[in-house]
Symmetry: C2
Subunit: 255 residues, 2 copies
């Protein structure tokens, strides 16, 4: 029986926060990651371009014989999940539905907030949210390493004030945000529960694999991380997102 391989793609390195959660539940499963670091970010681009990139990402993962595809990117999950599904002959998992389901389970007031990239917020996804805000500066700030201090706090105040006392559940609708979760929590207070789509989609994948009854624990996992652009900084950022050094598992690829 062929080994089960989880394919994950993202606009860049943010999707590694999803990989991190998958690894917590499925430490021995093999994984192929594609980060489109040559064209990141997607969240500021048009739907047409995001769809084009998403299709290319999908076809690349399929060429690596993945057993399923996880769309780690909220922007792609929001604007192009249908394109991914249309082009895939293996199951596809986006991050939106698992996050929404969790938010609906957690909320008491029914008032849910969503924060994400401009493309995600302007799309029709996360319809269940009553307050929606894009936080476009957070991705570059986090990628530049401003994960604590006055710079990130200034923008947390700017983008998250709208949610204060208005909701009881907030979906962190971008893969980068888990890195500043503690600062967001501190700013919003304990009364607002945070939903991390990375955690939720990982549970869905775990359940899916368990149901398949595929033995994935019989060997060491062998992961490969394909990036469309590689430089020293990307390797460091990858470590920041994943919590481990993957420099030896990184391969450069042209899409």
């Amino acid at each position: 029986m062929e080994s089960f391989i989880i394919g994950v793609f993202d606009s860049g390195l943010g999707g590694l926060t999803v990989v991190k959660e998958i690894k917590k539940l499925l430490p021995n499963v093999s994984l192929v990651y594609l980060g489109d670091t040559a064209r990141v970010p997607y969240g500021t681009r048009s739907k047409e371009t995001i769809e084009k990139f998403a299709k290319e990402d999908t076809l690349f993962l399929l060429s690596k014989n993945v057993s399923c595809i996880v769309v780690a990117c909220n922007t792609v999950s929001s604007l192009a999940l249908d394109i991914v599904k249309k082009n895939s002959n293996v199951p596809v998992f986006g991050v939106i539905d698992p996050a929404i389901n969790k938010a609906l389970e957690v909320t008491k007031s029914g008032r849910i907030g969503i924060v994400g990239t401009r493309a995600t917020i302007n799309s029709n996804s996360y319809k269940e949210a009553s307050i929606r805000a894009h936080a476009s500066m957070l991705v570059p700030l986090i990628e530049e390493g401003f994960i604590e201090g006055p710079e990130i706090n200034l923008f947390i105040d700017k983008y998250f004030l709208i949610f204060k006392e208005k909701i009881d559940t907030l979906i962190l609708g971008c893969t980068h945000y888990p890195l500043i979760k503690s600062q967001i929590k501190k700013y919003l207070g304990e009364k607002i529960k945070l939903v991390d789509p990375a955690e939720e989609v990982s549970k869905v994948i775990y359940d899916y694999i368990i149901k398949l009854n595929r033995n994935i624990n019989d060997k060491e996992s062998s992961d490969i991380y394909f990036l469309t652009d590689v430089n020293e900084r990307f390797v460091k950022t990858a470590e920041l997102f994943l919590g481990q050094d993957i420099s030896k598992k990184i391969r450069k690829v042209n899409l």
Copy 2:
């Protein structure tokens, strides 16, 4: 005689600040602009990827029969000007040399500073500068419209403090910075002179065309702005950079 067409390319819309300066000196010259908005920014990517993109940008402009190519992007001018020249059969103008020449003319102390993207600063360009600093957050801040207020001031303090009292001339080594020139000037004080590569490269192009003795003033200019991704926001940002509405002159192109 065929009409003279200036080709200009940039990683995105920042190069429109160069177009603006060219238009001041040569209001009736025709111009073809290429902004790679599907893959902006270049300044965080590797040399290899920047070279690949620069070659594609060059070949596109040549296919439009331009009479010369202006590399408006400091990142490309720093890392891939040789690639552009190698692939071009028309004259190529980068922004580095004109800026350096102006800085050497202006400085009295001989102490010149350069601020730019990470790729520009890490490259060997602007060798004459004695203090070098990347200011990676400025591009996303300006693109998000933070051109005044506490957000941009926080980062101006962060990135420009190193220059205070240390230099007498500062090269603004990224097309976006002219939009916050007045804030930078206010922060650094009158004693530090700012050099804008956009102004300097425009003078070089003006001199070049005058020497050619080509009549470019006999008709209305007809400009086209090719973008690799188009959305509403890009059209607005273009207006911010150029100071005029060009929505009817924008064409979408796939490279």
